[in-house]
Each structure stands twice: as C-alpha cells, then as structure tokens.
Symmetry: C2
Subunit: 724 residues, 2 copies
C-alpha cells in the first residue's frame, strides 16, 4: 500500500467520524430523539437531559462520560458494562505506557538506519522507514528493540495485575451490596436420576434436598418441557397485541366527520392475504377466549406430566445457597450435579434437561466443528485478502477496469476494499458461533456468550491476524518463492512491517467509522423513525421500535482483542501503530461510557464473569507477541535473540499466579461475599422463587395453594415442617 | 538368556518359596510367635488363633484368607487395605480373562511359524518360539495378535469399570457407616492473612468462622510452632522411658541371694560412654522434675506466642464441615484456603504454616528435581543392566573369571544377577521420593504417600521398563548399530520378546521370593527375637519390638504397577508371561489378605483415596501397551497396524468417563454420605476436638477453662453465643 492511499483512507475516515459526531450532537439534542439517544434513562424513568447545562455545549456528552463515576456506570448498565470499560481502559493503559517509551526511543533509531534503501527488490514507503524493517541485520540497534519488548511485557503485567485486582473488588462489592436476587438464593440441579417408583419427580427432588439441607431448604421448581405451552402462549400473546392494535386503529378512525369509525378487518389465511375477511376485534376476542382455557389446560398438563430431570432449588439464605452450590451432592458425580443458578432471564430452559455425558459429547462435537472451521476458514480469508487488491480485481473482472482507472476511484477503492471485505466476512461469524455454543447444552445465556466469544477469538487470531500476515505474503510473492524456496524467511520478515500498514488502516477504519456509527446511532434512528411513521400503532409497538438492546459482548470483546493482539504484535516492529491503538481504545472508552450510561440496557448481569476470559486472552496475545518478536529477531539474525526466551516463561508464570489468586472467586461466590448480605432484612423468598416461573406458565393467580400439590413446584418449607 | 538359566532361576525361586512357606506354617503355630504373626489381632485384643480348627492343618491360613469377607478386612485393616486388595484382584481378573483367550489361541499360532529359525544372526531359545517374534513379517497370522490386543483392552475396561464402581461404593459405605471421626467434623484452613491490629490470631480465626458459619461453628485450634515444646517433650519422654527401664532392671536384680539389688548406673556424657557416673533412677527423677515445669512453661509460650497462619476448625456436624470444606471462603483465593482436615495422626504439622505460593514454588522445584532424576537415573540403570551380564563382568573384572567359569556358579549368577541389581537399585528410591513429597508442603501423610507413589511410578516405567527393554538392546548390539544405523528398528522388534524372558524371571523372583519373605516374616521374627533377648527390658520396649508397622503403599503400589505394565505389554507379544502375572497377583492377593487380616496395623485411613491414582496408572499402562503393540506391528510390517489406532482413543475416552463419573467423590465427601450420619447420636465434639491436640502440648488437664482465653484454641460456641 502506498503512502498516498494510506493518507486517503485515514483522511476520509476522519472526515466520516467528524460528520457522524456532528450528526450525533445535532440529533441528540432534538426533541423526540430522546428514546434513541437516552433509552436507558427513559426506561429508568430519569430525565434524559438531567444535569446538562442550559447553554448549548456540543461536547457536554464528553464531560458527562468522563465525569461519571464507576458506581454510576454500574447503576445504569451493570457490572458487566463496567468491566468491559475496565478492559478498554486496561488496553489503553498498556498502550499509553508503552508508547511513552517506545515512540521517542524507537522511531529515531529506525529512521536513521537505511536497510530498506539498500535492498533492491523490496518496495517500501516512508512509513516503513519508521519500522524495525529499516534496521540492518545483526545491528546493535536491535538491542533497543529487544529492551522495548521487555518494557511492553512488564507494562502489560503491571496494568493487568491492577485491573484484575480492581475487577475482583468490583465483583465482590457489587455482589455484596446489591439486594438479594433470585439467583443468589437458588441453585440449579441437573442430571437427576430416574424417579423411584411411587414418587413424583417433585417429591423426589424435595425429599432429596430436604434431607440434605433440613434447615435451609425452601422450595424447588422442577423444570418442565414447555414447548407446547409456550406455543399456545405465544399465539395468545399475538392475538392480544393484535387486539390492542385494532382497538387503537378503530378509535383513531373515529374522526369528527365519521364518529362511528371504521372497524378494522383482516383475512384469516396466510399472512392475512387470503381467506375469509373478518372483523379483527371480534376475531381476536374470539381467538383469545378460545385459547385461554387451552393454555390453562396445557399448563396443568405441563406441570403434572412434562417434568424433566432438572430443577431450580431455592434456599432460605444466600450463604446456604452458595455453600450448597459448591458442595458435591451425590456419590456418583454425574447425578444430582449442582451449579450456580443463572438469572431467571438468562436461563436457557431447553438446555437444562440435557444429560451429563450428552453435554460432554455435544461439547466435543462442537469443538471439532470449530477446529475444522478455524482451519478451513483460512482458505476463503487468504483468498479474499489476496483477491481484493485492485490489480487482482482488474485481472479477474476486466469489465470494471474503466471505472477503477479513474485516479480518485482507484485511490478510494485501494484504501477501503481489503478492510471492508474483512469486516463483512467477520460479521457473518458470531451468529454461527452463538448457535454452536448454545448447542453445547450450556445453562445460561452469559455463559453461551463467553463460550462464543472464546471461539471467535481463535477465529480472529488464526484467520485474520495470522491469515492476513502470512497469507498476503505467500500470495504476493508466490513466484519468488517458487524460484527460491528458502527466500520465505526474509520475505516474511519484510512483510511483517508491510502488513503493519494494512492493519494500521484496519484499526483506523474500526475506530473512526465504527465508533462514529456507534455514537451517532444513525441506523437505529432511521429504523425507529421509519417504523414509527409506517408501522407502529400502539405504545408497546413504539417501545419495541426504540428498544436499544444490549451491548453485544460476544463480538465486541473478540474484536477488541484482535486490535490488542495486532497493536501488541506490531508495537515494537512498527511503533507508529501505538498512537492508533491509543486512539482506538481511548475513543472506544469514551463512546462506550456514553453508550453504557445512556443507551444500552443489559440483558443479563454476570458480575464481571467475563473478566478472567479477557485476562487469559490478553496474556495469550502477549505470548503471541513475544514469540513473534523472538522469530523476528531471528529473521534479523540478531545473536542475542535468545534473551527473549525468559519472556514467555514469565508470561505463563504471571498467568498462573493471577489464576491462583483471583480466578476461583469468579467461578464461584465466596462465602465472605454471601455472608455480608446477612445483616439486611430477610428477603421475600416467595417473590424470588416466582421470578423463575416462565411467562408461559405464569398467568394470573392460578397457582394457589390448592393445586400446588400437583404441580412441579414444592411447597415452601415453612408449611411442611412436619414432613422434615 | 538361555532356557537352562531360566529354568534354574525358576526352580530355585520355587524352592525358596516352598521353604519359606513351610517355615511360616511351622513358626506361626509356635507359642510366643503370635506377636509376630498375629500382631494386629493381639493389638485388637482378639484371640490370635480364633476360629482355627483344633486339628493341625497347614493350609488353614489360606482358607481363612479366602474365606474372610471384605467387611472383615475393613474391620481389621481399614478401607485402604481393602482397596489395595481390590487392586490386586483387578489385575488378577484382567490377566485371567486375557489368558483364557490368549494362551490357547496365540501360543499354537506362534509355535507353528518359523521366523526365528529363518533369521540367521539372532540367537533365540525355545521360549522365544512361543512368542510373536516367531511370526513372519506381514503374515496374516498377525490378525490373531491384533484381535488379541483388542480383547485385552476391552477386558481391562470391563474389569476396571467394575472395580471403580465397587471401590466407590466401598468408600461411601465405609464413610457413612463408621462413627464420626475427628476429621469428619473438622476442616483445615491455611494461608490466614496477617493478624489485624488489636486481635490475636485465635480471635481472628474465631471471628471469621463464627461470622460465616454462625449456626455450625464449634471451636478452632490455631496451629502453633511446636519445635521447642516437642524437643523438651521428647527429652522428657526419653527420661521417663529410661526411668521405667532402670526400675525394671533394678527390681530384676533383686534376687533371693541379693535382696537389696543393684541400682543401675550410667554416665551422663556422650552416648553414656563418657562423663560422670550417676545412679540412673535418681538421675532420671531429677531430670524429669527439672523438665516438667520447663515443658509446662514452653507449652504456655507456644500456645500464646507461637501461633501460625493455619488452624483446624471444628463444626458441630459432619454435613456442616463437609459443606464448609467445599465452599470458597475468601474473595482472594490464596487466603483462607480451606481443605479437608486430615486425620489427627497423619497431620503434618510442620507443613501447615507454609504459604500458598511457597507451596506452589516448592512443588515446581520438586517436579524439576524428579524430572531430572527420572531422566538421569536412566544412565546408571542402563549401565547396571548392561554391566551385570556375566560376559561384561568377566571383561571388566577379570579376576572373578576363575570363579564364574564354574558351570553351577555361572548358571546361578546368570539367573539372579540382573534382577537382584535391579531390585536393590529400586529399593533405594522410595525414601528419597517420600522426602521430596514431604518437602512440597503437603498437609497429610496419606497424600504424601500418594504423591511419592506417583513419582515412583514414573521412575519405574521410564527407567526399569523402558530402560531395560531399550537399554539392553542398545548395549548388546552397539556395534551392529554402529555399522548399520537403521538396523535399530528390527533389533528393537526382536529384542522385545527377548526382554520378555528377562522380565519373566523378574516377575518370578518378585512373587516367589518376595511373597515368601512377606508371608514367612522371617526377618521381623529374627529382629524381634534378638531385640527381646538382648535389648528389651520393659513391656513398652517389647511391644515396640514386634510392632508390625503399616503396609507401605508408597512402594507396594508402584511395584505392582510395574508388573501390571510389564505383563500387559508382553501379554500379546509373549503370552507365556500371563500365567506368571496370574501367579504374581493371585499369590499377592492371598498373602496380603492374610497380612491385612493378621499382621499390619494401618497408620492412617484415607478411605480408598488411593484408588483414582491406581486407576489412572492402570489406564496409562494400558495405553503404553497399546502404543507398544502399534509400534511392534509396524516392526512386523503389518499393513493393518493402523487398525490399532482407535484403541488409545478409546482408552482416553474411558479414562475421561470414569473420571467424570467417580473421581470427585474421592476428592471430596458428597453431602449424601455426610448426611447419612445424621440419624445417629450427636458426636462428642469436645473429644473429637481434643484428638487434634499434639502430644507435646497435651499433658494432663492444664487446659482448663480458666486459661483457654489465652491459648490457641477457641471456646466452644455454646459458651460464647453472646459473641456471635
């Protein structure tokens, strides 16, 4: 890539960002847009513009984002968002501390050497002169780069250690200080053995837990197969919504001119296009009347006959639930397996009845699929990164030649094409990985997200990072390699700094355009406006139109991880990448602080359970960096390259120590944390228990005491002490 | 090795065994020998000859050993001994089931081929003709051997699965049915953080656990540094024993002729050889009078000022202790680490205060040492196994030539030398490994034994098994390899069956001589007789002289494991080894059943905690066998050798499934098991608690309530509910 095309892309990205930010400042102040720019505040019933000065200040959002305390972030968006911000801050910290030393030291050292000018058969640009590629082989200047590698590593250790401590405290404090949640007093038991003769599943579960926890057992809820009930319930809800909508339309049609209005009609057939034409209000009322008893009957059948081999068990205190969750219950470890109960809203019901070894086999199969996918995705990725150069496009698609030969178009295409191809490609993956992770039989949504995020990380590292670096080299110089097979090592060495320019543009695209779009929320705004004008009739429909959704950690974290890996790996080879990394994480931190405070509404709360996952992958990135550097020093024929070898060992030791000191408290709840709840008032156990009842089984007050003896839930312990 | 020398060794081993067994039958019936042959019964206060018919029957011990139920074994020798017998029985079962198919099928197949007779430059004997070495390359007969490998593997899976189930039940039943032991209601907490200002260590521990377990905490005992107190106590005990002995000597000297007797005298200097001569009784009394207050003062100082960062915490029920043990306590995982409390008798006090990361570093260093030792022990082992062939001995020690050329001596030496060298060598290791394992900072003796046993297993497999097989080949044919370096593969192939003969003799030596000595207890008998005649004066000294000690699992298990590995690996190559393996484990089972019922007194009880360790290593042996066979089929140029590859995969899957189903219940106590105690009467907590007081701190009733506020133990919760 030439310096001009780099500047083209950088300049245009910057322009796009400025335009998007201006749009944001203008649009976010306009009345009626609060629900797009401040939905989180609207949902919480706060004034969207609270605390903002009366005079217009286009950058007040920055002051608000920077000024908010971490506790405010947690209050608005939960611990997970705060931890995600800690992650961005950690990456930022590492890069700032690294850059402070690397930029003033390494750039002059590289610029004043002239390796590239001496080698004839390699094309290079001015940016490449600032990189390690410009250092001569065996040069004593390489000592500076070696020491810089150490500096970056130690900075990473320091910042990561502080971040892990901080997140660990954050988690403990948040868990201890929040009020008691349903998941705090519950555990999830799976793999319940077959029901003994003469007992129901519910009696079996109750007997078992009442026997083992006579003083602390409160109540249990056996997981049922809700497929049928859910289907009826969804149908019913559909008609209810339709009814509300029809009534709104009807009352809207009652104008002064036509006071009786016009009753809305619809066809009953496929998509409302065919079939008999009926009065919608009457039709819906009839359907609802018909479905309600059907649902009720199905609910009874479900509760009585569709009980599965899993249950949620509620205890009368958090300490009791925590201790029970961490205690082995059965002699045969694959029966009565207990685990932390997920939040009710993120419990994946359909996965709960899957048996122990079924889950293991599913995991194994998923791992094999992911492994194959990681390996063979390499093929299209390398193809794309090689194909999407202009020269290749012209060669294979000659008809576009006339267009792309216009200098302006050429420059623009050259600048964007490879990055856009890559981004589109990577956007297709996450859904596939989420599907695979769900198929493993995991019980909670946040765990699925972590699992998918882990898989995505492998994809990104193997395919994007290694794929682009090595693949482009292989493709670009295939003929040279054919001639001299052992020329691959110096070629790789010289292509590493070259790929740096590619990644530089990639990072710039990500932060300027990505964060610009994120901040301005242009796309959600347009969708909301369109929906509101043409589709929405009722309040509920409007609410749904502006619902902001949650921060998608499953793709955000691995994408940021890719940037961390790229910037770390090139930090010493081409230190110029560091300011771009700083911009990426700095801007990201700012934008997502704004979004966390004002926009996104979390779907679940895992109290920073994502952090150990992030931490491990940061260290993995560090080790990739250290190994890459060791290899590159070898390419430079630096005889002191073995001095690099202690670094990966230190990284492993660091990972081990962090893991030993912090990890378990993320995997389980420490008793200390659970016990600090005790001083507060007794929680309302019945309310906490009811939170686990799925909506399709929870309609009104049908579950009174009278038929609780038949359903899948046990009675509260207080009423049945005579049983114990 | 020639067939004659094999028969010589086999015959002489058999003779030795018969002699030793006759000795056993004769000696065990003689009066006065009960304490050597039935010490376990004597200690338990049972009649040694109980249940034995009046008429003399030399084989009644066999009937008794076979007839006893497993419950009787557990009652006499504990679960660990029963599990060790299950291990011997499992190995026996695998070999019997394998042999039933392999011997009638493979021996004729091998005998009727003539590969060995065709190859000129290899010496062989008649036994080798019965081995796989006699099968021609690429012969379709190899299919038989391939199927045999599958048969042995599946037999092993089947028997191991049944054994694991059985042991798992055994452990659960034993734990649930035994009365409550001190370790059942206690937990061990280590890595207690520094004492906060204004608190004592005891208050810190009590506050912490009383806060987290308000309803179930009973009492705690802070671990103290007892070095000084223990030294004084041992000195005191020494004088006390000396006094008793002097009094016995004195009263023994009061004969009718000299009614005043002769007061025993001794010198006070080094070993009683130099220094002033004093009256022993007076001297000891003085010393005791002097030391008693000193000990008392030291005990007070120890309890008050030498409290360490570890404690034993007692709960008021087994369920509470079990749940607390398995629950993470602190947010920082390297503080307040809780673990199962070991039995008081196997608690390693000096290891308890070692801190979390110190233990990790120590483990790491120990692993490095063991790794280096495993690798470099290979050198002397291969040297020994090569050197101790007669030809070499004559070459390097020419002066013995005249002796070893006598045919009888030559034959004997050839038969015994390598095996004896090997056995002596392996006998030196265990103490070293036990020392290393203790240095890791492990809290209990049984865990140390398991750790040492694991290390010993690596030694045995790498050095003895691989060392002898490959080493002897390398040495014996060093010159041939020098000439044709790629001749090593066929040489290895042909040497595998040859080493089989060596191992055949090795196994025979082990079981005939080893079990003969074990059963006859000739050496303990002689030592006891000598001690009794010349040294023992008091009852205590006599008891000490016949104390049988415990079964040494640390060496027994890996040694048996070696036999399992050898026999498995050669089971298909040279099926003739199977009967020897059957004899080894059959005889072993019989002899150790006898010893468990009548002789050994266990030092600790770990409820079969050793089993997962044994199980994993059995599977490791199986995988070594499968890989060896794969390699050997390759040597035989059998094109269907890849059909072997599913076997190791199956073995790994089997190991995983067993681990998932059973392991955790060995690592922890399931709540089911703990809860089954509940029906019984409340345990005497104070007595259970006192069991943890070390003897050097426990003299009389000094620990009354008055000064308990100062010492390292907390008050029972019942008396201090006002604190809670």
């Amino acid at each position: 890539m030439e310096i001009s095309s780099f500047l083209t892309s950088f300049g245009s990205y910057l322009a796009i960002f400025v335009v998007l930010m201006l749009l944001f400042i203008w649009l976010s102040g306009r009345p009626g847009n609060e629900v797009v720019y401040y939905p989180s505040r609207v949902v919480k019933g706060l004034d969207p513009h609270e605390g903002r000065p009366k005079t217009f200040n286009p950058f007040s959002w920055i002051r608000e984002a920077v000024g908010a305390s971490e506790d405010e972030v947690i209050a608005m968006a939960g611990v997970d968002a705060a931890v995600y911000l800690v992650f961005l801050g950690t990456a930022l910290g590492i890069l700032v501390l690294s850059g402070l030393v690397l930029l003033p030291v390494l750039l002059p050292v590289a610029r004043t050497d002239n390796n590239l000018a001496l080698s004839k058969n390699i094309t290079f640009n001015d940016l490449d002169k600032l990189s390690m590629g410009n250092i001569k082989e065996k040069s004593p200047r390489l000592w500076g780069f070696l020491l810089a590698t150490y500096w970056v590593s130690f900075v990473t250790f320091y910042v990561l250690w502080r971040a892990y401590s901080h997140v660990s405290n954050l988690r403990a404090t948040a868990k201890a200080s929040s009020e008691v949640k349903p998941q705090d007093v519950a555990l999830l038991v799976r793999d319940i053995p077959p029901v003994p003769k003469g007992q129901t599943r519910k009696e079996q579960v109750d007997d078992y837990f009442r026997n083992l926890h006579p003083d602390t057992f409160y109540r249990s809820m056996v997981i049922t197969d809700n497929t049928q009930a859910n289907k009826i319930w969804e149908e019913l809800e559909g008609y209810r919504k339709k009814l509300v909508r029809a009534e709104v339309v009807f009352s809207g049609s009652k104008t002064a001119a036509k006071p009786e209005g016009q009753r809305p009609m619809n066809r009953t057939g496929f998509l409302g296009l065919v079939g008999k034409k009926v009065d919608t209000i009457n039709f819906c009322n009839e359907k609802i009347k018909e479905l309600e008893p059907k649902l009720e009957a199905e609910q009874k059948v479900t509760l009585r006959e569709k009980q599965q081999n899993a249950a949620v068990v509620v205890f009368n205190s958090m300490s009791a639930a925590v201790a029970a969750t961490q205690t082995l219950h059965a002699q045969l470890v694959d029966t009565w397996t207990v685990s932390e109960a997920p939040e009710p809203r993120q419990l994946l019901w359909y996965n709960l009845p899957k048996r122990f070894f079924e889950r293991k086999v599913r995991s194994l199969i998923v791992y094999v699929i992911v492994f194959l996918a990681v390996v063979f995705y390499m093929v299209p990725i390398t193809f794309i990164s090689a194909f999407t150069t202009l020269a290749n496009l012209k060669k294979y698609l000659p008809f576009i030649k006339s267009v792309v030969d216009i200098p302006a178009v050429k420059s623009v295409l050259e600048a964007y094409l490879p990055q856009i191809a890559l981004i589109v490609f990577m956007a297709l993956l996450p859904k596939f990985l989420l599907f695979l992770s769900r198929a493993e039989g995991i019980a909670s949504e946040s765990h699925v997200v972590r699992a998918a995020s882990g898989k995505f990380f492998y994809f990104i590292i193997f395919n994007v990072f290694l794929g682009v670096t090595i693949g482009s080299t292989l493709f670009a110089s295939f003929k040279e390699i054919e001639k001299k097979p052992n020329s691959i090592v110096p070629l790789l060495g010289s292509s590493l700094p070259k790929s740096a320019t590619f990644f530089l543009t990639f990072v710039a695209l990500k932060f300027f355009v990505g964060y610009g779009l994120e901040l301005s929320r242009v796309i959600p705004l347009i969708i909301y406006r369109l929906k509101r004008r043409f589709l929405c009739k009722t309040e509920g429909e409007i609410k749904q139109a502006w619902a902001p959704g949650a921060l998608g950690y499953a793709t955000k974290v691995p994408n940021d991880m890719l940037i961390v890996t790229i910037v770390l790996c090139y930090s010493v080879i081409a230190p110029l990448i560091i300011p771009f990394g700083v911009l990426y994480f700095g801007l990201g931190w700012l934008v997502f602080r704004n979004q966390a405070l004002k926009v996104y509404i979390p779907e679940y709360e895992s109290y920073g359970r994502m952090w150990p996952h992030i931490h491990t992958r940061m260290i993995a990135a560090l080790i990739i960096y250290q190994v890459t550097m060791f290899g590159y020093f070898g390419v430079k024929k630096f005889v002191y390259a073995p001095f690099m070898l202690p670094l990966p060992v230190l990284s492993f030791a660091f990972a081990f120590i962090c893991n030993a000191r912090f990890y378990k408290a993320f995997d389980r709840v420490p008793l200390e944390v659970a016990a600090s709840h005790k001083a507060k008032q007794t929680p309302n156990l019945e309310a906490l228990f009811s939170a686990y009842i799925p909506p399709c089984l929870n309609s009104g007050d049908k579950f009174d005491d009278a038929d609780q003896f038949e359903d899948a839930r046990s009675q509260p312990a207080s009423r049945t002490t005579s049983f114990a």
